[in-house]
């Protein structure tokens, strides 16, 4: 299932107001690495359903959100819990790395 997409408003609401433990992947369509990483997250979302949130930001569509974090490349996966940034994973990542980061975030 495609990941839920965030925009400026829902980013505020979901990441900060709800404080849900979650990750947000910043990606773009023209990036083949993103095309490999996003499906990994889609698979994991199923596994973590109800325990950990998975969201997506398309940097072409949400330029202000992308600019805010001063990223230098995609994909970037950023992790949050209780509205606090917990770290990130950049570039090509395997599901073990994401799962490890999720379990650190949930701890």
């Amino acid at each position: 299932m495609p990941l839920h997409q965030l925009d400026d408003d829902s980013f505020e609401e979901i990441i900060y107001d709800n404080g849900e433990a979650c990750l947000v992947v910043f990606s773009r369509k023209s990036c083949h690495v993103c095309q490999e990483v996003v499906p990994v997250l889609e698979e994991l979302e199923y596994k973590y359903h109800g325990k950990f949130g998975f969201y997506r930001v398309d940097i072409e569509e949400q330029k202000t959100l992308f600019q805010r974090f001063s990223f230098k490349g995609v994909p970037q996966i950023i992790f949050f819990k209780n509205g606090e940034y917990q770290g990130k994973l950049s570039g090509k990542v395997e599901d073990e790395q994401v799962e490890e980061k999720i379990s650190n975030t949930l701890d």
Partner: protein, 405 residues
């Protein structure tokens, strides 16, 4: 059996997809297991200008066509990663990361290659913060900035030129002496004429520098041994590829020192029914067109192989009588004479044998299975099990004795 296929292809790049198209058209139940996006590394190629029939096409577009073609002939796709293989049985079994077990009569390995990492300090830490491996993905983040490209192969030089569209300057770090690049001549010429491109010769990158973002690289001149620092905001590594074959390490499959799989003209590996195609095999040219050719050859070879084992199952293993496997080759006249003689003996003397002729020109695997080196040759089987090699003689009486004693 749900998870049982005729043909299993590991990898969804052009080699795997071509094999699948041939497999599907031959009515083999075919599955592609692919971990990333279908199309593989070709997706990272902006422009392909040497695939016959396409004057100019983008990598992802060409792969979409391949995939559509494969789906059209009934190929199934599984998005998963193969982590271990068991090639010891006639029916080969693969286990995936998600714990799925799939088996098939023949397997084609088409898992390609991946960018090599240098494993230098800063490379991993600054990934996505200026360290990049894909120009299409990330080049425009370096608008007006200084970028370093490491490597001098086709990919390094061509991607480097693409990056000059955005960057202020692209400095290529080359291992070789001045003027020597690993890439094709046309690209080298264009690169030398590109004013935004500069070259630093006889050098390697020792470290990527920067706190939060890349701020520079530490270079080492391999001739003088001296180190220097070059300021930049981005580093793209194109230091070659390594075959993605590490999961096959303990499978019994022959793999060379660099990780490539040696094969013959039929794409056969050292294990029967297992083929290797595309970038992960030992080969001269790694292009979409040659990958596709590999895939076609392997699929046809696999189809024959499957047909052989099916025939064998049907006729040989299930026969009530003893089976006389008679190996012949039309080019060896002695083997034809010998065959005729054996048939004569069996029809004259007994109904205890059934003769099955095996043409060694096409049914190589069977010949190999029964260790047939010279023809004529014949093997006696009982319920599929070999009970003896028949001693060969052109003397009819002697042969009778060999058969019935």
């Amino acid at each position: 059996m749900e998870n049982c296929y005729d043909l299993l292809i590991i990898g969804g790049g052009p080699a795997g997809l071509s094999a699948a198209i041939y497999g599907g058209r031959a009515k083999l139940k075919t599955l592609i297991i692919n971990k990333g996006a279908v199309g593989g590394l070709v997706n990272a190629t902006r422009e392909i200008v040497n695939y016959p029939g396409y004057l100019k096409v983008s990598g992802p577009d060409l792969m979409k066509d391949f995939k559509k073609h494969a789906e059209n002939v009934g190929v199934e796709f599984l998005k998963d990663e193969v982590i271990s293989v068991d090639y010891n049985q006639v029916l080969k079994t693969l286990t995936t990361r998600k714990g799925k077990q799939v088996s098939a009569k023949a397997v084609i390995i088409a898992c390609g290659s991946e960018p090599r990492l240098l494993n230098i300090p800063g490379e991993k830490r600054l990934r996505g913060m200026g360290v990049a491996y894909c120009a299409t993905c990330d080049a425009d983040f370096f608008e007006g900035e200084d970028v370093v490209v490491v490597g001098s192969g086709d990919q390094a030089i061509e991607e480097g030129m693409y990056i000059t569209k955005f960057a202020r300057k692209v400095t290529v770090i080359v291992l070789h002496d001045e003027g020597v690049l690993d890439c094709n001549k046309a690209s080298a010429e264009r690169a030398f004429n590109n004013k935004k491109m500069e070259f630093i010769w006889n050098s390697t990158v020792e470290e990527v520098l920067g706190e939060e973002n890349v701020e520079g690289v530490k270079l080492k001149n391999i001739k003088t041994g001296s180190s220097s620092i070059l300021d930049c905001q981005g580093v793209f590594f194109f230091v070659g590829m390594i075959p993605s074959t590490s999961f096959l390490r303990d499978s019994g499959l022959e793999i060379d020192q660099k990780g490539y799989i040696p094969v013959n003209d039929l794409m056969e590996t050292n294990i029967e029914g297992v083929y290797a195609v595309g970038d992960n095999r030992v080969k001269y040219l790694r292009q979409v067109v040659s990958a596709a050719g590999d895939g076609a050859a392997a699929a046809v070879a696999a189809e024959r192989y499957i047909e052989e084992i099916e025939n064998f199952n049907a006729k040989v293993l299930k026969s009530d009588k003893k089976v006389l496997l008679l190996f012949f080759n039309a080019s060896v006249s002695e083997s034809l004479q010998y065959g005729a003689m054996l048939e004569e003996i069996v029809s004259e003397c007994s109904d205890r044998y059934e003769i099955i002729r095996v043409d060694t020109a096409t049914k190589k695997t069977l010949a190999k299975k029964y260790h047939i080196k010279d023809i004529p040759a014949a093997v006696v089987l009982d319920k599929g099990e070999k009970i003896k090699d028949l001693e060969i003689s052109m003397d009819k009486e002697k042969m009778k004795f060999n058969l019935f004693s």
